[in-house]
Symmetry: none
Subunit: 215 residues, 4 copies
């Protein structure tokens, strides 16, 4: 029946073995239902049904509905932040003579894939974190420990190599993060106005970031 699995689902299926099959099914169902309806609008009954387990079983694993929300953070870390951490420590693998243009395009396309692959999980966690300070703290911590340092290191290296003007690392970091976020959000929310065409748009985005729009 179900042949195609999302990256998120694959991540959960490949999780630690002290996570039972039923638990995995519950997590997958939770992502599906919650990313479609939001945390509060998702019914434990519906999640249980989608997971093919009884509501009692759902309770066995997650005594409070909120626990189910919090349980989605580890898979998110595994699927979204782990690759970033991994990449940070295997930087040496990158082509030594990589140009700035190449680096930026690589940054956008890899990060975009991560966003795409974790759409559902990210949607739940980010949106709910707006109202749950604990979740927000977790996300802030993760970003501060993974994405921001890796991004800033790249920028500093390029400044050292004199490929980038001497300017505030934070400013450049903000510009790049804004473009990534903006591209992702705008093309999701206004697909007619901003259709998605990654190759073309990343190219133009990078070109403008590098050379500006001024004639």
């Amino acid at each position: 029946m179900e042949i195609v699995k999302t990256v998120e689902e694959e991540t959960i299926i490949n999780m630690d073995d002290n996570v039972s099959d039923k638990e995995k099914k519950i997590l997958i169902a939770a992502i599906r239902i919650m990313s479609e309806k939001g945390f509060r609008a998702s019914r434990t009954s519906e999640i249980a049904k989608e997971a093919g387990v009884s509501e009692g079983t759902l309770f066995r694993y997650y005594p409070k509905k909120k626990d189910l929300l919090l349980a989605l953070l580890p898979p998110l870390i595994l699927s979204f932040f782990q690759p970033i951490i991994t990449e940070m420590f295997s930087k040496s693998n990158a082509p030594k003579s990589s140009t700035l243009k190449y680096e930026l395009k690589h940054f956008f396309s890899t990060r975009l894939s991560l966003l795409d692959d974790n759409k559902g999980l990210l949607k739940i966690i980010i949106l709910e974190s707006i109202y749950y300070p604990e979740l927000q703290k977790s996300i802030q911590k993760l970003m501060t420990e993974t994405v921001f340092p890796s991004l800033e290191q790249m920028i500093m290296e390029q400044i050292e190599k004199k490929h980038i003007k001497k300017m505030s690392v934070t400013t450049v970091s903000r510009i790049l993060m804004s473009q990534l976020l903006g591209y992702f959000i705008l093309s999701s929310y206004f697909p007619d106005q901003y259709p998605r065409d990654d190759d073309k748009e990343i190219n133009e985005m990078v070109d403008i970031i590098l050379n500006g729009i001024k004639r």
Copy 2:
């Protein structure tokens, strides 16, 4: 007691006179509670209490809780989208010899003010629109009729004036929208990483958009 009112509250207080006083109080309370807790987590009882009316009265004006959400769209339009429309038709007021740099800075600072002034309303409507297609359609329509045309017109004029390289209007539009959105979201969500300092950051943002980061 309460002397300082938010722009949103001022907007509602100045609304049409066929909106009764009680109704206005309810809307103001709804914005406060819903922007703090989200639509679903907000209790009609709490909104009524905050508004200083009975729950019965609340339901006289808004028979369904959802009606209360939809009722927030008009104030949002009045306060956020109306100024943009107005500005579009009063373009003549702008200094004729306005430079590209000035135009961009003006765009960012005016739009940022609008975002700040309508934080609460925007938060509610945007976040809820993710789960309510009707709301999403409304927002898409409003953006398509106001923000996007005004932005694109500015870009086209600047291209015609040859201040901007010959390039896709949509691409430039996306870049600018991304920066605006990114600046706003990132400094709200990661205030430590990306502290807010509008004058300085708008300046640098515009500089990079104009000239790029390449040395």
Copy 3:
């Protein structure tokens, strides 16, 4: 239909007027059901039904089931402990030349009436207090402030009047309380072995306490 009301029910019906009729019905139903089945075995659905209200209404007044248990303490105080307090302050009304025998018989018969009148409430509160320290503390405090002092004062007066041998007030107090408690519990639990016949038994009890059983 229902003509005879228990003293407990009368107490609740005569409670403060800021207690609504529905709330009173709920409390009466709670006493009936809980004294019959115990707190945990009592179903909120059954209490609501017995009270003639919806479960929603029950929740309006007592958000947690436990609140309903704790709400029974005030009526108990009113009905059981208030008379004792009142009596303490109207001691002067007692016949001045009251004999020891008369005092003891009066003590047993009045206290026994109180126990009888508050059977249900006492049963709930006492039995549940065994497992809820908060309740136990309340009962201990009430006894320490009302029953014990009034009892000890009577004993001391009788010792001063040299009607009672010079002996520990606590010991006499314990003897009297034990008889009261024992008479009440034993005749409830073993009605065949210890049938209840207040006039006769109080007489004999007092006689033995006064003169002993030794020939």
Copy 4:
């Protein structure tokens, strides 16, 4: 680790050999949990855990939770009622010239030891018997067959020996039972008001019962 065992636990450990080791562990755990929390508030899961067996095993031995409660009656009989029966038939062991005072003190101290030794079991069974008629019947039957006859025989003998005034055996029995019960309950429930000091208090209790309080 655990060196000190309660009398109840010793009783269970020494029970009949057609009671398996696991069963004994379950019973001991049941006493611990149930005497702490009460029957209904005790979770089968918690009892199983405390007993070091699986819930499945618990239900193999006691298919219904209530069976676990009823299974506590035999140990109670063994530990509490058996000694009383035994004593009844070994009356000859008592010193022939035992005085009334001695007999009473012996009665109180031996019964008090039994109560202390079986605190937990008694608490569970007595409290639950209030809501379970079957249990209440059992307790009534046991008391009627053991405690009451032994007590009444002692009283009758003392009346025959003319150590006690000619009076109703039941009345004297009730007085003695009340004092025993009262001493035990009051010093458990109000340890501050009625501190426990067996030697001293039994002495004074017996003295009053024998000679009264009248000067």
